[in-house]
Structures are given as C-alpha cells and as structure tokens.
C-alpha cells in the first residue's frame, strides 16, 4: 500500500485543521503522526480511513483515488482511541464482526470464520477472554481486542488513533513492543497517531511531526532531535529554554552564555533565537554574568536549577548531581549550552510560512 497525500486541506467551520498536507508513505512502512492536540493528526488519520472528508487535495492509494471510496470499501483496519468495542458482543463476536457483515457472496462459512477468530485469539494472546464482554476487560485487553477486530478483515492498511493513550506506562511499553511485532508479522502498512515522542520514536520507522495543520518535519528520531526544522518542532521536542543571541559569522554570542560548544551555522548575521533543552545546559560560576541561581532542587540523580535573568524569562538547567560543584541560591553563573537549535529571530514570532515549511521538509528528507 503506497499512500500519496497531496495539498490536503480541511476546515471545521472557522478552524483550519489541515492547511496543506503533502505526504508519501511507502508500502510496509510504520509511520507515526506526532503532534500536540489540535495539530490535525487525528483528522488526517480519519480522512485516510474515510471517516472524514477533506475540503481539497487528493488521497491516492496504490494509484486509485480513495476519495471516491466509502470507508467500508477501503478495507482499512482502524483502531480507535477508546477502542469502540461493541459492548453487547463478546470478544469472539467483536473479532468476527468484520467477517460477519460481508455480503453473502464474499462471506466465509461459519466454520471458516470461527477458525479465523480462534487463530486471532491465539495470535493476540487473548484466547482466555473469548467469551467475555468488553466491560469485563482491562484497558490493555480491550486494546488487543480492538486491534484484533481490525486485523480480522486482513486490512490493507492499519490505522491507530492514540493507541496507547488511555493506558498506564508499564502496559504501554509492553503493548508497544507487541504492536511492533504485529506489524512485522502482518507486513501491513501502519500509521499511528500519538502525542508521545518516546512512543513515536521507539515504534515508528519514520516520524511525521505535525503542528497547526501542517507537517513541520519528517524524519528519524536523531534527525528530529538534533536538527529541528522549525521553532515549533524545537519546542515540541523539549527545547523549552529560549534565549536571544546575536549571530556573527555563524557563531552565536550572548551575555552570560558560553556558546563555544555549538558548531558554526550557515545563518545570516543578526539577532537570532536559541532553543536548548534543560539537559543540554551546564552552569558555571561567573561573577559578571547577569544570570542568577534562583533555586536548586535535587531529584537524587539530577539537579534541577532554576535560573533568572533581569530581562529574560526564567530558564531551567538539568545536570547530574554527582560531579557538579555545589550551587547556592543567588550565585552568578554563566550558562554553557552544549547543544541547541538556532533560528533567525524574525521567524520566532511569525507563524511559519508554508513555502519555507516545504523547503525545510525537503532538507529533512
């Protein structure tokens, strides 16, 4: 299943949910749509499933136009965020639903359906739950049944909407590994939506970062982590410390900042904004720096240091507790930035323009 989405837009009343999406997905790929809520990722997934319709753009799957096909004819396995299991049917009947509703001519015999359901129950490791109702299952079990119900129709494409959103951390990790296994065993093209970076990067071959109805960046974990394409991606990836700096010949400079660890950038001279993760910031005593230590909190392994500046918002640094010289409230310190993303300052406030978005995407590819 190769999927091509181009120039897709969608609005709900006055809100633009998708503002021009271009995306290609290769057969057998496992792709994550990652973004904060309201970024349009679920809407995009629902359009691919046929549960929503775009205002403009095209959706081509294996060279056929899927916008001409109803959801029921697309043969897509869709796993809903809250599972949407049929409450009045047992697990067995839920799994068999997709086969039971086939037109008589295509419907397999009763024995074939029963065999298929038994096979799925075994494959999903839920054979002992076969005769229970959804209300009697735990969240993780429901998720398995929901996935099994989608797999029963042998989908050409598997779509999952926040598949682990409602589960606790231990079960999420478990199911993540299990889903990866299912993807490899079935070989179907899979797209899932998540707002959890860890989940996206651990599970997916490729991650599509979405923000405000646009694709902000497409890439692998390291790429997106080290080279965010836009300030939005940088912030979303955890670079919560934003500092104004001055660029001169590709070098960044700022009062109270030690930026010698950053490589030279091919950016024009002038003011710029630096985005850094708290964990990439070290603090060092420096009597003339405007930065002051406001608070030091230890989590045992790490020290979280709140830093204040007379003219800037508060910043945070996180460093290992062992090997760090003792810090005290009120100490004047220099911030040594080990890694950061830099964007010319003018782009900081303005919403990213679509043209430059596309250019960035090309680079990311």
């Amino acid at each position: 299943m190769s999927i091509t989405i181009s120039a897709m837009t969608k609005r709900f009343q006055k809100t633009e949910v998708l503002r021009g999406i271009d995306l290609d997905i290769a057969p057998g790929e496992l792709v994550a749509l990652l973004g904060p809520s309201g970024s349009g990722k679920t809407t995009l997934l629902k359009i691919i499933a046929g549960l929503e319709w775009p205002d403009a753009g095209s959706l081509t799957v294996n060279r056929s136009d899927w916008l001409q096909l109803a959801a029921r004819d697309r043969r897509v396995g869709f796993v809903f965020q809250h599972y949407a299991l049929f409450p009045h049917m047992s697990v067995r009947d839920n799994l068999a639903f997709g086969l039971n509703v086939r037109p008589r001519a295509e419907r397999p015999g009763k024995a074939v359906i029963a065999a298929k359901v038994n096979e799925l129950l075994g494959f999903l490791q839920i054979a002992h739950l076969a005769d229970r109702y959804p209300a009697q299952l735990s969240g993780g079990q429901r998720q398995r049944v929901a996935l099994g119900r989608a797999l029963a129709i042998q989908p050409r494409l598997l779509l999952l909407d926040e598949p682990f959103g409602a589960l606790d951390a231990a079960i999420r990790r478990d199911l993540r590994r299990w889903l990866r296994g299912v993807h490899e065993a079935t070989g179907s093209t899979t797209i899932f939506v998540t707002h959890d970076q860890e989940e996206a990067f651990e599970l997916a071959d490729r991650v599509v970062v979405m923000g405000e109805g646009r694709i902000a960046q497409i890439g692998h974990a390291d790429e997106i982590h080290d080279h965010p394409a836009t300030p939005f991606v940088a912030r979303f990836m955890g670079a919560t410390v934003e500092l104004p700096v001055t660029l001169a010949q590709g070098r960044a400079l700022g009062a109270g900042l030690d930026l010698t660890a950053l490589p030279r950038r091919a950016l024009p001279d002038g003011s710029a904004t630096l985005f850094a993760r708290p964990a990439d910031i070290r603090v060092m005593p420096d009597a003339v720096s405007p930065w002051r230590v406001a608070q030091v909190v230890s989590t045992g392994a790490e020290l979280r240091v709140a830093l204040t500046h007379p003219d800037l918002p508060e910043a945070e640094a996180v460093m290992p507790r062992r090997g760090t010289a003792p810090l005290h409230q009120g100490d004047a310190v220099t911030l040594r930035i080990e890694a950061a993303a830099l964007f010319p300052a003018s782009r900081r406030e303005a919403a990213p323009a679509p043209q430059s978005e596309n250019r960035k995407k090309e680079i990311a590819r």
Binding site: A71, R72, F80, A84, F86, H88, R132, A135
Partner: protein, 282 residues
C-alpha cells in the same frame, strides 16, 4: 486554632438523609400504597366466585379484549414511529428541530379530554381527515381504530423520551468502527445501534402500553362507548361506579392493576435480558 478534643464521628457527605427518605416513604404510602391496598381489600371482600363472575361476564371480557387489542395496535405504531422520531431528533440537524422536540411533549401536557375532543373533531365524518377517510370506507370514530388512535396520541412521548437520551449518548465511534469493518448502513443499525438502544426501547414500549391500557379521557370522546364494541375496561369500571356497584368497579380495576403489574415485571425482565452484557459486570 485549638479545637476541643471530641470523639470522631463519621458523617454522611450528603445531609438530610433521614428527613428526605422519611418524607419520600410517607408520600409513597399515602399516595400509592394505601389506594392500591384499599382496591385489593375491596376486591377481596367480593369473594373469588363473585369476582370471577364479574370479570368473566361477556361485557367485561369484551371490554378487556378491546382495551388490550387497541393498546397493542397503539403500541406497535408507537414502537416504530417513536423510534423513528427519536432517531430524527438525535441524528439530524434541521430548522425547527427544537420546536419539533418541544411538540413531542404536547401529549404529556395536553389535558387528555382536549386531545380526545380534537381527534374526534378531526376524524368524524365531517372533520378534515374523516371527510376523506369516511367515504373511502375507513371509519375511525366510534371504532377500535379510534380507540387505538387516541391511545397512540397520548403514549408516544414515552417511547421517544426513553430512546432519545440513550441514542444521544451512544458513542459515535461504534458506528464508525462498524463502517471501517465493512458494514452497510442497515447492518450498522441492526447490529450496533439497535442492540444498544433495545433496553430503552423495550422500556419505552411497555410503559406506552401500560399507559394505553389505563387511558380514559382521550378515548371516551372518540370511542362511542358501545358495550361489546367500543367500550374500554376503564370506562366500564367508571360506569359500574356510577351505578354504585363498587364491587363490580373494584373487580375490573383489579384486573387492570394485574395487567399493569405483569407489564412492569415483563418490562424489567426484558430490559435485563437486553442489557445482559452490562449485567455480566456485576
């Protein structure tokens, strides 16, 4: 901030338990239980042989038969129409929807005698509908159809108002899931939506049926009240009372009470059956 040491007493979060429960029970006894008990005692003093003679008299049997058949017709009609109405009110947006929704309560609010009068006026031979139906050989007024019509009018909100909230709360992603699994629209309705609203729909239908059995005001105007033909049980009980035949009235009323109780039990059993997947949790 020093407080005197006092023994700790667990307190109810909601106040007024004793008062509210006491008031409720008193009210229930005065308004519901005592009248029913009086009716049963009145019936008991007749004695079984006399009781049987009254309720198995030709006129009484005919009245029960007419009441039950007309109520059944009205309920079947309301089961279909009420479901459709609830569906339209929850699933579509159209101008005038709120007005239509409000109109659904008119049969509740309207005095039943007014309903009976207006239906009679409409369906009598020179009324708007009757002028068409009568020449076509479909008399409504003074027939069992008129009785069923009056019953349907007064009891339709029961079906609409029990199904509507359940349909509103139904998770739309269930239908979306069924669609992605390849189900056609009628399969989605039959296999996903209908089972979900079945308990509420059954409850609505049985209450509508029970209400139809007891309907009086709307019917007496349109039925013509001919003994053996269009005389309903509630009216017969009333006539007996008018004749100072308290025993006769009580016996007939007891049978109606019996019907109502049987319906209530049947309704609960059906609902439990239809909601058995929820029961399994307990």
């Amino acid at each position: 901030m020093i407080t005197a040491a006092a023994p700790i007493r667990a307190r109810r979060v909601l106040p007024g338990f004793t008062l509210s429960l006491g008031t409720t029970l008193l009210y229930l006894v005065l308004i519901v239980l005592i009248p029913i008990a009086a009716l049963i005692l009145k019936g008991a003093e007749i004695g079984p042989a006399r009781f049987w003679a009254i309720v198995s008299s030709d006129r009484a049997v005919a009245a029960f038969r007419i009441t039950l058949i007309a109520a059944a017709i009205a309920t079947i009609f309301n089961a279909v129409y009420g479901l459709l109405m609830a569906w339209v009110l929850t699933r579509y947006d159209f101008p005038g929807k709120r007005l239509l929704d409000a109109l659904m309560d008119v049969p509740f609010a309207l005095p039943t005698a007014v309903a009976g009068l207006s239906l009679t006026a409409l369906f009598s031979a020179n009324g708007w509908f009757g002028a068409v139906l009568h020449p076509a050989g479909i008399p409504v007024v003074y027939t069992i159809w008129g009785i069923a019509l009056a019953m349907a009018f007064t009891s339709v909100p029961f079906v609409v108002r029990t199904v509507q909230p359940v349909l509103e709360d139904l998770d739309r992603s269930l239908e979306a899931a069924a669609e992605t699994l390849g189900a056609r629209p009628w399969q989605i309705f039959a296999k996903v939506v209908f089972p979900a609203i079945l308990p509420a729909w059954l409850a609505g239908c049985t209450t509508a049926f029970a209400r139809s059995l007891g309907e009086f005001g709307a019917i007496v105007f349109i039925a013509g009240n001919l003994p053996f033909q269009t005389e309903i049980a509630a009216l017969l009980a009333y006539i007996r009372l008018e004749e100072f035949d308290y025993n006769g009235a009580a016996a007939i009323a007891l049978v109606l009470l019996g019907f109502a109780l049987v319906l209530l039990v049947a309704s609960n059993l059906l609902q439990n059956w239809a909601a058995r997947h929820r029961e399994a949790l307990r």
